[in-house]
């Protein structure tokens, strides 16, 4: 069972602000899902099994290090919610640490 404290901790890591109702539901629903997921515990000791992170054998894909045109600044900024002086504008991160 995932406790309310664990849910809040994970939400903070994931930059999610959950409502009270969501916190309660996440705790119940994720616990159900984790109960099922934990059937992989039945497989016992897997110390000798290599993990798979990528399924197809590909060597490093390299290309020539040549400059190429990239998106123009005004195009890159065109979808932003708030733009100022050729950059993305965001709210203040708060007062500078003393």
């Amino acid at each position: 069972m995932l406790s309310r404290e664990q849910v809040l901790h994970v939400a903070r890591l994931a930059r999610l602000e959950l409502t009270e109702d969501e916190q309660r539901r996440m705790s119940e629903e994720l616990s159900d899902v984790l109960d099922h997921i934990e059937t992989i515990g039945e497989l016992g000791d897997l110390a000798d099994v290599e993990p798979t992170s990528h399924v197809i054998a590909v060597e490093n894909a390299l290309r020539a290090d040549e400059p190429r045109p990239s998106l123009a600044a005004e195009i890159a900024l065109a979808s932003a919610p708030d733009v100022d002086m050729g950059g993305f504008r965001v709210p203040s991160p708060g007062p500078a640490p003393a």
Binding site: L2, Q6, V7, H9, V10, A11, L13, A14, R15, L16, E17, L18, T19, E22, M26, E29, L30, D32, V33, L34, H36, I37, E38, T39, I40, L43, L46, V49, E50, P51, T52, S53, H54, V55, I56, V58, N60, A61, R63, L71, I75, A76, A78, S79, A80, P81, D82, F88, V90, P91, S92, P93, G94
Partner: protein, 475 residues
């Protein structure tokens, strides 16, 4: 008019190339149907202007294409079914889409999907659910439900989608059409809005197997913009085989027993009998770790998603929460308001699986289970050419039936998750009806066995003679 629209895409393309059909007729006919679509299959339809200039000699013959919303299309809304990308019009086009439009398939519309491809019913779209054309009280499957419904209803000649744990094959099965998930790396992921990068793969949803081969051949290939894409060992060939002599089919006990609806199993067994009649050797086999696929998948995919979706912070594009004057709260409020429930659930699950103290027991262990599942398939290829299973454990379910129970929803993917975990290709074809709803038959093969898979599926398709799909009689 409706005559041209009842052709398969490959037939229509052939007629255009032969000079017997005006591609403008296809364009106007399909555009009209897409614009009038009442299944909510589309989130955007091309404007009612003149048809795009089409080279009549082009391989895809001007046959218009429906594209899942999560493919970036320059200047055209690409929202991945999410409110957090509402109104987003990307400055570039996904390689897969660029290749297909370049090969002569103009963009007809963008199709509805579960938010960020997380779901098996298309009910998780911020733009409302898509309805199944066979029965509007039921889901079309997901996450590529809009593409599947549009093709099944005759409102698109063909479509593309993406498959991470079954998102092409399961909606194809539930809508009575063909869906192909290619080998990982066969199609570039550049410009696909990412869900789980080690699993995501684009592929076709089509009226028949030949259309799937034609579309796959035009979208596949190495791309300098996707370092995980690879060139195919052989060119894609259109299927032509009419028998299955010498083909060995393995039927895994683990994916063909408990949990599969009786009507689905009956159709599956009937199709195996057809395979035998066509000359195939059909034998039972074991994939001992396949039942752990759901567990491994629902750790690996959410873990990758939690990382991929960290980019949605309200700074560079998409939605930003209003009236927040603190940076950190702007991030959290934007994500709280912009993401739907299932996406939050998966981000939470993935973040938990990667968090300090749990990483080894969850994410690390899931990657090892992934290895075991791959090994099972490798062992099977020593005896068999292909593995056969039902695509989905059940037929299309009622809207709302599983939304309150995430685990029940996840179990829809039982027969489809082992393949992407192993990176191998699989195809779903309609094998018949159960309670009046379509059933999907799945064939999976070794990496890069698409030509053989298409051939085997084609031989079965001819033998099954599935004639009930709504697109055949759509007006």
């Amino acid at each position: 008019m409706s005559d041209a629209l009842s052709l398969t895409a490959a037939e229509a393309a052939a007629r255009v190339r032969a000079g017997d059909l005006d591609p403008a007729e296809l364009w106007h006919g399909y555009r009209e149907r897409a614009a009038a679509d009442d299944l909510n299959s589309y989130t955007w339809v091309a404007a009612n202007g003149g048809p795009p200039a089409v080279d009549r000699e082009a391989p895809l013959g001007g046959v218009p294409l429906a594209v899942k919303d999560l493919f970036c299309t320059e200047g055209v809304p690409s929202q991945a079914g999410s409110r957090i990308l509402e109104g987003y019009r990307p400055p570039y086009t996904a390689t897969a889409v660029a290749r297909l439009t370049g090969a002569g398939a103009p963009l007809l519309g963008k199709t509805n999907q579960d938010e960020f491809a997380m779901g098996s019913s298309t009910e998780n779209s911020a733009y409302g659910p898509t309805l199944n054309p066979w029965d509007r009280s039921r889901v079309p499957g997901g996450s590529s439900g809009g593409s599947a419904a549009a093709v099944a209803a005759g409102r698109a000649p063909w479509a593309i989608g993406t498959d991470t744990g079954g998102s092409i094959r399961q909606p194809a099965a539930l809508c009575g059409i063909v869906g192909l998930k290619p080998t990982y790396g066969a199609v570039s992921r550049y410009g696909m809005i990412a869900f789980a990068s080690s699993l995501d793969q684009a592929g076709p949803l089509t009226r028949d197997v030949t259309d799937a081969g034609l579309l796959f051949g035009a979208m596949a290939g190495q791309d300098p913009c996707d370092s995980t894409s690879v060139g195919l060992p052989a060119p894609v060939e259109l299927p032509s085989r009419t028998d299955l002599r010498g083909v060995r089919l393995g039927v895994p006990e683990e994916l063909t027993g408990e949990g599969i609806e009786p009507g689905v199993l009956a159709s599956f067994r009937e199709t195996l009998d057809r395979a035998r009649e066509l000359g195939a050797v059909v034998e039972s086999c074991r994939l001992p770790h396949a039942p752990y696929g759901i567990s491994a998948y629902y750790l690996i995919a959410p873990a990758e998603a939690s990382s991929n979706l960290a980019r949605y912070d309200g700074v560079r594009y998409g939605f930003r929460a209003e009236g927040v004057d603190d940076l950190l709260r702007m991030y959290t409020e934007t994500r709280e308001q912009g993401f739907g429930t299932e996406v939050k659930r998966r981000i939470m699950l993935g973040t938990y699986a990667l968090s300090s103290g749990y990483y080894d027991a969850y994410y690390g262990r899931a990657q090892k289970v992934r290895t075991l599942i791959s090994r099972d398939f490798h062992a099977a290829w020593e005896r068999f050419d292909f593995i056969a299973t039902p695509t989905s454990p059940g037929v299309a379910f009622e809207l709302g039936a599983k939304t309150a129970d995430p685990l029940a929803m996840y179990l829809n993917d039982y027969c489809t998750v082992p393949m992407p975990l192993a990176g191998i290709p699989a195809i779903s074809i309609p094998s018949g009806l159960s309670e009046g709803l379509p059933v999907g038959f799945q064939l999976a093969g070794p990496a890069f066995s698409e030509n053989g898979l298409l051939d085997a599926a084609y031989a079965l398709e001819r033998s099954i003679g599935f004639r009930d799909a709504p697109w055949r009689t759509a007006a």
